[in-house]
């Protein structure tokens, strides 16, 4: 019983880091549709740094976060400064990130991922697991207990009112997108270095699972822990069934169980949300224009 639980928990950092990064930028009102591309780019910068700069996993994680920030800057310039459609920008970053990362991986690295993993520190779990829990809790404290969190939520809910209080709306959004993309980049680095042990050039779907988890968590940091555990459990059970040869379904359907789970979870989250107060930040997806006349 002990070993499967460790296997499930060891996937948690991917979801916790990625989901909280996406959650932070959505709280401030910016959809980050390009999450998959940011993850891929974070991963590839991390792998590059491992192979060419220093074979140190901690430095690679840091470089992965910086790679995420590069895409965060692109996203912010296009969708916050120039006020382009956030979804169009997201499509662009998504495919650009995946294409660039896949190209670098196969051309300059010969398709080889680093073989080393983080060694376990406590209860057979690696330090990134504990780090991600700590980051999640820090984010929870910032968002729900401090005035900075209140500012971020105000910008996401009603940027005009926030602006009238002297808050620089676009600055707050820049800050949230950059920090969020750093977390997503770290999550991608961890995913490709430690979990997938390789690279897939087309859509792998982990970024979109994080995207779905944000809605499942109804934009609350603490709920992301629950959602992340549920998703890792589904993926863990699916791989175990595949390895053990338990075929209750044909193999094609078994491998898409996580994707079906995303659909079910999203629909369930939205149906139940109808009965409560809407948790979605009101200005999500709309750029803030100061002189707009309503």
């Amino acid at each position: 019983m002990y070993e499967p639980i460790v296997a499930i928990l060891s996937m948690l950092p991917i979801y916790i880091l990625g989901t909280n990064g996406e959650l932070l930028s959505q709280l401030s009102g910016v959809y980050n549709i390009g999450i998959e591309g940011v993850m891929a780019f974070g991963a590839i910068t991390a792998i590059l740094s491992y192979n060419f700069v220093a074979p140190n996993l901690w430095i690679s994680m840091l470089v992965g976060a910086l790679g995420g920030v590069v895409f965060g800057v692109l996203n912010s310039i296009l969708s916050i400064h120039f006020k382009l459609d956030q979804i169009v920008v997201g499509f662009g970053l998504w495919f650009f990130g995946i294409g660039l990362a896949g190209f670098i991986q196969t051309t300059f690295l010969g398709g080889a991922p680093p073989i080393e993993r983080f060694s376990a520190v406590l209860f057979d779990l690696d330090p990134i697991f504990y780090l991600s829990i700590v980051i999640g809790i820090i984010l929870w404290i910032i968002i729900s207990k401090t005035s900075l969190g209140l500012t971020i939520k105000a910008v996401g809910e009603n940027p005009r009112a926030a602006d009238s209080l002297g808050i620089n709306v676009n600055k707050v959004r820049w800050f949230c997108v950059l920090i969020g993309c750093a977390l997503i980049g770290m999550s991608g680095a961890y995913l490709y270095m430690n979990y997938l042990q390789g690279f897939r050039t087309m859509v792998s779907g982990f970024g979109w699972m994080c995207f779905a988890l944000v809605m499942f968590a109804r934009w609350r940091v603490l709920n992301t822990f629950v959602g992340a555990t549920v998703f890792s459990a589904i993926i863990g059970i699916q791989t175990r069934m595949q390895v053990a040869g338990i075929m209750i379904l044909p193999v094609e359907f078994l491998s898409v169980l996580p994707h079906i789970a995303v659909i079910i979870v999203l629909v369930a989250a939205c149906v139940t949300a109808k009965f409560g107060k809407s948790a979605m930040p009101s200005s999500l997806g709309t750029p803030y224009i100061k002189e707009a006349v309503y």
Partner: protein, 347 residues
């Protein structure tokens, strides 16, 4: 406004073509240098394999067909600001419907072809309509839903092709080939008459979007759903309808792939056209008139970069050039925005 809207559209498309070619060949330069290839030769080969030779041109037009049909479908959904990225799955349903009809129904050829088109439309529409219904009923975000639907539809297609529909002949990893009378005829060898299906769809979709009431409702819903609701448009119904029509048209791309290109079912028959069509729709800026040209351009880049692998350029360069296409599309939106604001400072 600097130019008439029409000239501006064409001008922007030309700038886009210039930017992406520039970007692609900028990325090719270091690779050519490291492999001792001449960039001029590479450029000539790129053109030779796509437009300047008749077989290359036919190849490019063949790849244009599914892209064109899918782009037309996406135009309709995108116009209502319903972001349908499930085209890949809808194409898979088109493949399933056409394979099922043409392989197993004991009917004369022409009726089979017509039935394949009708069933693809219906299945694709139903599959797309699910996401539209979920969005309008419970406001479930359509982007993750349609994306996940892709995986499920592709799994279903792979299961059918590798399982119950697998060819009885040993050693085959695909279904039986279609009977000869259920295949669409060739125009000029790789180019099939399924291309004409795409061309016929252009004026139809143009009529739907620009001349019909439904098209106006789509535009109003996409522009401002609240105002559209005040104006008496049933926004929820329009959202479902947009996904319904869009899914149906996208599924026709699957029909064209089966009846006009492959003539059998095999894993990977959908070929990521559902994702590549997003960029050709965005470059056309949701204008169905421009989609034939933009999907031709995207097909040109795909065929050209694929052909370059014969000259020693690594295979994943195709993915990178698709990424460049997408970034170019975003830059075009940026340029259009700057031109529209007429240089006024818009903070």
């Amino acid at each position: 406004m600097m130019f008439q809207k029409k000239t501006r559209g064409i001008l922007l498309s030309l700038i886009f073509i210039f930017i992406t070619f520039f970007g692609i060949f900028l990325c090719l330069l270091p690779i050519c240098q490291s492999k001792n290839l001449s960039i001029v030769e590479i450029f000539n080969y790129f053109l030779y394999s796509t437009i300047t030779s008749p077989s290359g041109l036919a190849q490019t037009l063949m790849k244009t067909t599914p892209l064109l049909i899918t782009s037309l479908g996406l135009c309709i959904a995108f116009k209502a600001r319903v972001w349908n990225i499930g085209a890949e799955g809808q194409i898979a349903f088109g493949v399933i419907a056409s394979l099922g009809t043409c392989l197993f129904l004991p009917l004369p050829g022409i009726i089979k072809i017509i039935l394949a088109i009708v069933f693809s439309l219906l299945l694709g529409a139903a599959w797309g309509g699910v996401a539209g219904y979920l969005k309008s009923r419970w406001s479930v975000p359509e982007i993750p839903i349609t994306l996940m639907q892709n995986f499920v539809a592709l799994a279903l297609m792979d299961f059918l092709i590798a399982g119950p529909w697998l060819s009885s002949q040993p050693g085959y990893a695909h279904t039986d080939p279609l009977p000869l009378d259920a295949r669409l005829p060739y125009l000029a060898y790789p180019l099939n008459s399924s291309f004409l299906l795409g061309i016929i769809l252009v004026p139809i979709v143009f009529w739907i979007m620009k001349r019909s009431v439904f098209g106006f409702q789509l535009k109003a819903t996409g522009y401002n759903p609240i105002a559209a609701n005040y104006g008496g448009i049933n926004v929820k119904k329009i959202i479902v309808m947009s996904m319904f029509v869009s899914g149906g048209i996208c599924a026709l791309a699957g029909t064209s792939l089966v009846l006009g290109e492959f003539f059998f079912g095999v894993k990977g028959v959908t070929g990521n056209y559902g994702f590549y069509a997003i960029v050709s729709t965005l470059i056309a800026r949701l204008d169905p008139k421009l989609t034939p040209f933009t999907s031709f351009f995207v097909a040109l880049v795909l065929v050209g970069t694929n052909a370059l692998t014969l000259k020693g350029i690594p295979g994943p360069f195709v993915h990178l050039s698709v990424g460049i296409l997408f970034i170019g599309a975003v830059l075009i939106f940026l340029l259009e925005k700057v031109i529209e604001s007429g240089g006024e400072k818009n903070v």
